[in-house]
């Protein structure tokens, strides 16, 4: 343990404050996961988890609730990290795969698959959805040219609204038997979670780790602007490509299983950033963990509030999460203004 120039204590090269925040978020995620496991139609109190379980309880725990919790944590991490990566790239806290149209590109492909080839195995669909997102990303980069920040964001917004309309039209052609499923999926939910879906999503979600390690240091330099960063030896075009590949893969794969999680990619990184002011790898990691906590929290909340209803974490995130997020940011501004 040593104290750096800025007075922060560090373990190795990691600030202790970031490490504590990471541990805190991990504990919060575990507590929420435990709470989520106990909630539901089949009674499964905490005390029962320690003793022997009935067949029904065992099925509810192992085949329904645990996969849901695991999927929720993974998807939350993936979407939040995707947002954090894009925000770092355009140096704007509003960037998000949903706002840039990347998710809509993937969604269009997912819907096309559903309409044209309903029987396609899930494992084949993911790479196609990723390609859909990458096509939008490529178009975005080509149109943006050397545009930085806001220019890219505006282009993305245009892309997003066009593709959303196209997706809406496609939904009219979806097979009628899929319409309920589609509605749930569009609202953002964990109903498709199973060990099979986790096995399909897992390799894509695992991209988070190399993305964190390889892109974190570069993004921490990119805050100085593309040109200053380039003269510090940063391969800026390569970094952009890496960010796009990682952000699209993570968000498109998550989209396939949990639907669009509105605003999570903006909310989680901003909350995490406000927590400790971390940069680089720590900033990305905390953003991802915050995403997991938010999705698990939304899951617990929606199931605790409406035990009988089909739970939509996407709606809970927008209805409860977004106002709470805005209030929090406002409070922080007040606090900053007073200090």
């Amino acid at each position: 343990m040593r104290r750096g120039l800025d007075g922060h204590r560090r373990l190795g090269t990691v600030r202790v404050i970031d490490l504590s925040a990471g541990l805190g978020l991990t504990v919060a995620a575990l507590v929420l996961a435990l709470a989520s496991v106990t909630l539901g139609h089949q009674s499964l109190p905490l005390s029962a988890l320690l003793g022997p379980l009935s067949d029904d309880q065992s099925f509810a725990l192992w085949e329904v609730r645990l996969p849901r919790v695991v999927m929720g944590a993974m998807a939350g991490f993936a979407v939040a990290l995707s947002g954090a990566l894009l925000q770092g790239m355009v140096r704007n806290p509003l960037a998000d795969p949903g706002l840039l149209g990347l998710s809509q590109g993937a969604m269009l492909v997912l819907l096309l698959c559903l309409v044209l080839a309903p029987g396609l195995p899930a494992g084949w669909i993911t790479p196609m959805a990723v390609c859909g997102g990458m096509a939008v990303a490529g178009l975005l980069m080509a149109l943006a040219g050397r545009a930085e920040g806001l220019g890219l964001l505006l282009l993305g917004l245009g892309m997003e609204s066009t593709l959303s309309s196209a997706a809406t039209i496609l939904m009219l052609y979806a097979p009628p038997e899929a319409s309920t499923m589609l509605a749930q999926w569009m609202a953002g939910s964990l109903f498709r979670a199973s060990w099979d879906s986790i096995a399909t999503f897992g390799p894509w979600a695992a991209l988070a780790l190399p993305a964190l390690v390889m892109l974190g240091p570069g993004l921490s330099v990119l805050v100085l602007g593309d040109e200053r960063a380039a003269t510090l030896g940063l391969p800026v075009p390569l970094l952009r490509l890496g960010v796009m590949l990682a952000a699209v893969s993570l968000s498109a794969a998550a989209l396939q299983w949990v639907g669009p999680l509105a605003f999570l990619g903006v909310m989680a990184p901003n909350l995490a950033g406000a927590m400790t002011g971390a940069s680089g790898r720590a900033r990305l990691t905390l953003a991802g963990l915050t995403g997991s906590v938010l999705v698990l929290g939304a899951d617990v909340l929606s199931r605790g509030l409406e035990p009988g209803l089909v739970m939509s974490i996407g709606l809970t995130l927008s209805v409860v999460g977004v106002p709470a997020f805005l209030i929090l940011l406002r409070l922080r501004q007040f606090a900053a203004a007073r200090s």
Binding site: L5, G12, T231, L232
Partner: protein, 262 residues
């Protein structure tokens, strides 16, 4: 020698630099002078490889810069743009530490021993610009002059032997204008660094620079020692203004004529 040979730059369709021939020697402070839009910043950016050149080349000690890797270039030449962005959460110490990027490998971020060695260089850079006591403050909470010195510290922390600073005394009060230029001159004279600065103040240029390069509309119209370059005729040619040159000890003072009421 950092040599600029026959360098031409066209931005869009507008020719900005025309066959620039000049050179920057180690151990010297060179000042680029000229009116707004004459190509001073573009010249620095062309040397840094940030704008495409239509002809010519830049070579450092005989080696073309175009042949160097990005990282090697970053270890040899530090550039400070007129404006640098910085997010609100970054503290001064963290910002200056970004200078270590070109010396870091993918995994060395995990090695504390290397981090500690680099930290000494960062601490020296902050001390040099007089900001040590502010190391823990967010960069964006600093005053304009402190911010300017912070970005100079970032360039110093890069530990490059060539410094190219675009208007380094912008936003600074007179005391720091003189202090920073004296510091840069000392880096050149005592440590043999090659320092190139863009300046607007002719008197500062005359007082501190070993060499002046005067540009107008993308052409070098004069270069040499201050006594050779700073003349009423040259300044009239470059800036379209009348200046009287007064000797003051070893220095030359430029006293502009104040335009009369129209």
């Amino acid at each position: 020698m950092l040599e600029v040979r026959e360098l031409s730059v066209t931005l869009g369709r507008r020719p900005v630099l025309h066959r620039i021939d000049t050179g920057f020697a180690a151990g010297e402070l060179t000042a680029l002078l000229g009116p707004n839009g004459c190509g001073k910043s573009t010249l620095l950016r062309a040397v840094m490889g940030l704008v495409e050149t239509t002809s010519g080349m830049v070579a450092l000690e005989g080696r073309p810069l175009a042949g160097m890797s990005r990282r090697e270039r970053a270890r040899r030449i530090a550039w400070m743009p007129q404006e640098t962005t910085c997010p609100d959460y970054l503290t001064l110490a963290e910002m200056v530490a970004l200078a270590g990027h070109s010396r870091r490998s993918l995994l060395s971020g995990f090695l504390p021993s290397q981090a500690a060695a680099q930290e000494q260089a960062f601490a020296r850079a902050l001390e040099t610009v007089g900001l040590t006591e502010h190391a823990a403050r967010p960069v964006n909470s600093l005053s304009g002059g402190q911010r300017q010195r912070a970005f100079i510290a970032l360039a110093l922390a890069q530990q490059a032997d060539t410094l190219m600073l675009d208007e380094p005394v912008n936003h600074l009060d007179p005391r720091y204008q003189y202090a920073i230029l004296a510091l840069l001159r000392d880096l050149a004279h005592r440590q043999g660094q090659r320092v190139v600065v863009v300046l607007h103040d002719l008197n500062l240029a005359g007082a501190f620079a070993d060499r002046l390069v005067m540009l107008r509309d993308g052409h070098v119209i004069a270069q040499g020692r201050p006594a050779e370059v700073l003349s009423s005729e040259r300044i009239a040619q470059a800036f379209d203004m009348q200046v009287e040159i007064l000797p003051h000890g070893a220095r030359l003072l430029c006293v502009p004529e104040i335009p009369a009421h129209p």
